[in-house]
Symmetry: C2
Subunit: 198 residues, 2 copies
């Protein structure tokens, strides 16, 4: 329903404000969530005025949606540039796992996950979009590496959730695991799935 008739064509100044609003609001939303951040606060921190937010994004929810979409797409970009053609099954899984976890354990991503889950009832479509470009994408990359074996898709989900879930839960409650603990789990999970019929 976003009606673009009222959208001004952006100046250089307007474009700068557009990006600045997104940048500032991103940090505020990540730090405190959607509800706890007011538009007035975003504008105080950004400069300019609310005019921009309402003309360019339609309002607070539109701004939030734009921010979530940008963030979600960024976290997993390193995963697509790996070349695993010479790696063994176990080694390849371990490399995938480490690359993935290096991204997901960043405080920004932890904050993002908290933010998106907290509003998943209010914005289910945003959560769905996150899932597609987040967990689902990771699982696809893993499944592609596993090849065409039966149940490859399910095994990819298993591997993903084995190495990701508990670490993120701990991080969410301010008790992130050490990196060596993360690596230990990746090794164990890789070994588990590398075995013949697995």
């Amino acid at each position: 329903m976003s009606d673009r008739r009222d959208m001004p064509r952006l100046n250089a100044r307007g474009l700068a404000r557009h990006e600045m609003i997104i940048k500032t609001a991103t940090e505020l939303f990540l730090a405190r969530g959607f509800d706890a951040v007011s538009l007035d606060e975003v504008i105080r921190a950004t400069g300019g005025s609310k005019t921009n937010v309402y003309k360019q994004f339609g309002g607070k929810e539109g701004l939030f949606a734009e921010i979530v979409r940008r963030l979600a797409a960024d976290f997993l970009s390193p995963l697509t540039t790996l070349d695993l053609r010479t790696a063994s099954r176990e080694t390849g899984l371990a490399i995938l796992g480490r690359t993935l976890m290096q991204q997901l354990m960043q405080p920004r991503h932890i904050a993002f996950q908290r933010m998106i889950m907290g509003v998943s009832d209010k914005f289910p479509e945003l959560m769905a979009e996150w899932y597609r470009v987040g967990p689902q994408k990771s699982q696809s990359v893993i499944a592609a590496f596993l090849g065409d074996e039966p149940d490859g898709k399910r095994l990819a989900i298993f591997f993903h959730d084995m190495i990701v879930t508990d670490a993120i839960n701990h991080a969410l409650m301010g008790d992130a695991p050490t990196w060596s603990e993360v690596e230990a789990r990746i090794s164990a999970a890789s070994a588990l799935l590398a075995r013949p019929s697995g």
Copy 2:
């Protein structure tokens, strides 16, 4: 810092109000989260007056904390009454998994998980308490069934996260898996962990 000097000794009426407030507020918080529910609304739906909330719980946050503690402890109670002494490793895991997922896939639990994760930055200790009586408890039961094998604790976490994570993610975005899909995952995970050196 909850100072109990101002807490009245509860009447029969007072006790009834105490429980009624918790019951009403529980449903409201589950439905819409901590921030979106106002105390005035809780009282409108409960009857009585805000006097009770402030004298008995200290305020909105105290009420929320009490509610989270009660809910968290309830979800997994069925898990402790299972007798798996005659079950094979694979069958026992499957039974544990099904019992667990029957609880976790309930809409009330999905709402609870969304609620607790959304406020995990504001109330990290509440999230920690949830983790202890939730995932950690489940993992303990699973580990106990697996016995004293090396890495049993880690395998229990793996099994738990393999069957739980993806289903809950889908449920959170309003796309809960069918029960037969849940069972298929439980079977696959049980088989995976039932193999000799697993």
